[in-house]
Amino acid sequence: MTRDQLEVKMTDMLDAGYSGEQERQLLEQLQPFPDLLQDWQLLSEGLPELHYDDAYAMRPAPPAFINSLREQLQPGFLSDSLQWFPGYFAAAALMLITFTGLYSLSTDSPSEITGQQISDWVYMAEEEQQLQQQELLVQELPFMMTQSPNLDE
């Protein structure tokens, strides 16, 4: 057996008690380890009676112990806010992105402006301008006819 195994065996024997035969076998196994043999002889004498309660008397819970636990676990507004803010922020951002995306995908939006519409507006503006110029010309034509340049000068 190894040293560790012998130490385990000795602990078991000290805890559970042992017979003379068991001790005899152990002593044989301890022969190769004189220091362990010495340790066994020392411990097998037993420890003095140890009154741990005298050394470490148990103390009851302080009177306000439970109340102080409850108080420290009470949520506060600030602590709640700090705790939940990241979640609320993420949820709000997600909703904003979702609604914006849905709105932009909608084809029924009256305010949607297409390239065709822009083109139409541009050409329409030019046509209107040309029409206005023609109307003006028609209006001024008689005047212009009477104001023909003097070719003799």
Partner: protein, 178 residues
């Protein structure tokens, strides 16, 4: 038997019952370090209540609490920067026996003080095993679960811990006449 208590009240009642054992274990664990056991005990119970949903009802509440206490002590000791060696100096600051008391009480107090001084001077892992096995009566499989060390290793270390304790008690002339 219907005690009329809600589940939460029952929990707090159980915690209050376990307080003395846990506080004492913490006191032994940090023995000689100068730290306040009451603060660490409060911290332990606060952690326990905050994480009570992780407690498995089929296991022992005491063992679960003890594990939290142990981890709390380990963290606290690790943070202790100014003290490099644990000494029994703080044991001297505790109450000394009043020599006017009767001899039996005097012996008890002095023996207790001597035992505290010896335990606080032992290596932490030895003191911890003495405390868990010999003081608290924990079973080896419970100690193995808490410390995450195999039972064989625990028994081997306990053998050496008891040996050290025996030698130091003998050197100190420890006697306790009940």
């Amino acid at each position: 038997m219907n005690t009329g208590l809600t589940t939460e009240e029952q929990l707090y009642a159980r915690l209050e019952l376990l307080y003395p054992r846990i506080e004492r274990s913490i006191r032994v664990y940090i023995s000689g370090s100068g730290m306040d056991s009451e603060d660490l005990t409060q911290e332990t119970f606060l952690k326990a209540v905050k994480n009570i949903d992780q407690f498995n009802e089929s296991s022992s509440l005491y063992t679960w609490l003890f594990r939290i206490a142990r981890n709390t002590c380990i963290d606290a000791m690790r943070k202790l920067r100014t003290r490099r060696r644990y000494s029994a100096e703080h044991e001297q600051l505790e109450n000394h026996a009043d020599p006017l008391q009767n001899d039996v009480v005097f012996d008890q107090i002095e023996s207790g003080r001597m035992l505290r001084a010896i335990l606080s001077g032992m290596p932490e892992e030895y003191r911890e095993l003495i405390m868990m096995k010999d003081m608290e009566g924990m079973k080896y499989h419970e100690i193995a679960e808490i410390t995450r060390v195999q039972e064989g290793t625990i028994k081997s270390r306990l053998f050496r811990a008891r040996l050290m304790l025996k030698k130091r008690l003998t050197q100190a002339g420890y006697e306790h006449d009940a």
